[in-house]
Amino acid sequence: MNLRKAVGRTPLHLVILFFVGIWFLPTLGLLITSFRDPSSVAGSGWWTIFPKLFSGGQFSLQSYVGVVRDQGLGRAFLNSLIISVPATAISTFVASFAAYGFAWMRFTGRRYLFMVVVGLMVIPLQMTFIPVLPIYGKLGLAGTFPGIWLAHTAYGLPLTTYLVHNFMAGIPKDLFDSAAIDGASPFMTFSRIVMPISVPALASVFIFQFLWIWNDLLVGLVYLGALPNVAPLTVSIANLVTNRGQDWELLTAAAFVSMALPLVVFFSLQRYFVRGILAGSVKG
């Protein structure tokens, strides 16, 4: 009986194995290639390492040295951090203020303004570049970190505000009533009560937004261009593809440099990350 049940479940496991294989092997191939001896990358496939896995001499860190030192990806990694961390912090901060205002304050047009925010969540960013660029040029913000912080903050605001709003709107009303009775101003209620209990939600939004900005290519291309002293990893790597398109030892190492941080964030904070996704799409 048990055996028959196990045999009957074999197709299920095979289907899953098929999917997991396709979703895992490409990344594994990239990782292996990036650690191979650069001179052998162009001559043989990455799977050829397995028969002589322990014979030694086929692995090296040379590709990483190459991209970080010679191709300037060390600087680009730093740029990505300088762009993502402040931009995420500012946008989470501004969004939590706005979310509180939209969820618990009453003012004329609140409902309609919030609907506009919800609608803007999916607006194509392509609609925004052409009028902003000349202004950025005049203000000297083009190609600067503050310029891209502001742009990323604004572009992320509709979604982050919506996500934080969903959480804050669920806080029991009694809490606000008792705060008001105790004489707390709206600002005090916000900073002493609402913010502390929103920490888990804010963490989700922060991680979500951080990865979005870290992984962004388009906004970086438009507002920073290829200037090596400000360009983030994604932009630098896209340039590398254009200039060194066949040098797979470089491309694979470069791609892994850009993936390392998101992977660490994802595996260590998976819970928050998944929660962020769910809050954005499923009701609540």
Binding site: L30, W47, M105, M127, P186, F187, L251
Partner: protein, 341 residues
Amino acid sequence: MAAELQPHGGQDSRRRTHIGKRIVVGLDGSVAGRRILKSGRAMARWFGSVRWNSWAFVAPALLLIGFFLVYPTIMTIIRSFFGRGTALFGPTVEFVGLTNWKYVFTNEIMLTSLRNNALWAILFTSCTVGFGLTLAVLLDRVRYEKLAKSIIFIPAAISMVGASIIWKFIYAYKPAHLAQIGVLNAIVVAFGGEPVGWLIQRPWINNLCLIAVGIWIWTGFCMVIFSAAYKNIPRALLEAARIDGAGEWRVFRNIILPLLGPTAGVVATTMVVQVLKIFDIIYVMTNGNYSTEVIANRMYKEMFNYNNYGRASAIAVVLLILIVPFMILNIRRFAAQEGAR
């Protein structure tokens, strides 16, 4: 609407009557001022009803959204009726009427882009939603669910630039007499075939190869959402059907699928919106060459390579028009949700 009936900050309404009274007391002495008093009261009422406190909370966000999203959207629509150049307006920019619009809907590359975006929308959306749903239901039945889900979700956490390089490497092509380093061509050669230039074979093979990358990236995202919704279905409901003699397929078809319908709607719209704006994959893997152009990449080229803000604006507006129905859908969904709260 139920949400409107909910008394929000009780403090605020108290303050309103306060301000009103103070002004009324101040004006009450004058005899001739009945009318003034009346309009004064109205003014005070209006002034009191503007919640300065509340505006202070939303003002920073609204200013940023206004400057970076609302103002540019309006200007881009207007700019689409003007000619080339990289100025927004000014003496160098001339009014060209519908010229850019004619270009958008008649130029061959634009037509290719529109066709490709349609192809992307159909294949990408159906596969991500289909795979995501299938995986969510299947993985619920095995003990290594968590591990498998993490693996399938990885592509959603990394950048599309990184994912594009991963797949460009899978599709790598070497002439037949050399050893293949791309997995796909190695398989083809192992089975006795000729290596294929996957990203060059137009118009179907290369576009399908690019769409596959998109599917690989986004399936994990769909799976996570479906999985959460699936786990919300009471197990007793499924068990009851099974005890009544329904096979697994019938349980899926008649119970699981209808219950996951609304989720599928949300996921599918999210995917369509994503796919209409698809840019990174094309930019990195083919830059739109060999008939793989898409709307967003074309817009980027017109803007930066050809310095034609007029055409670029018109192309952007095409994207907007395609996305507006989904904006409305989102707003409706939100309004219904608010009403239910």
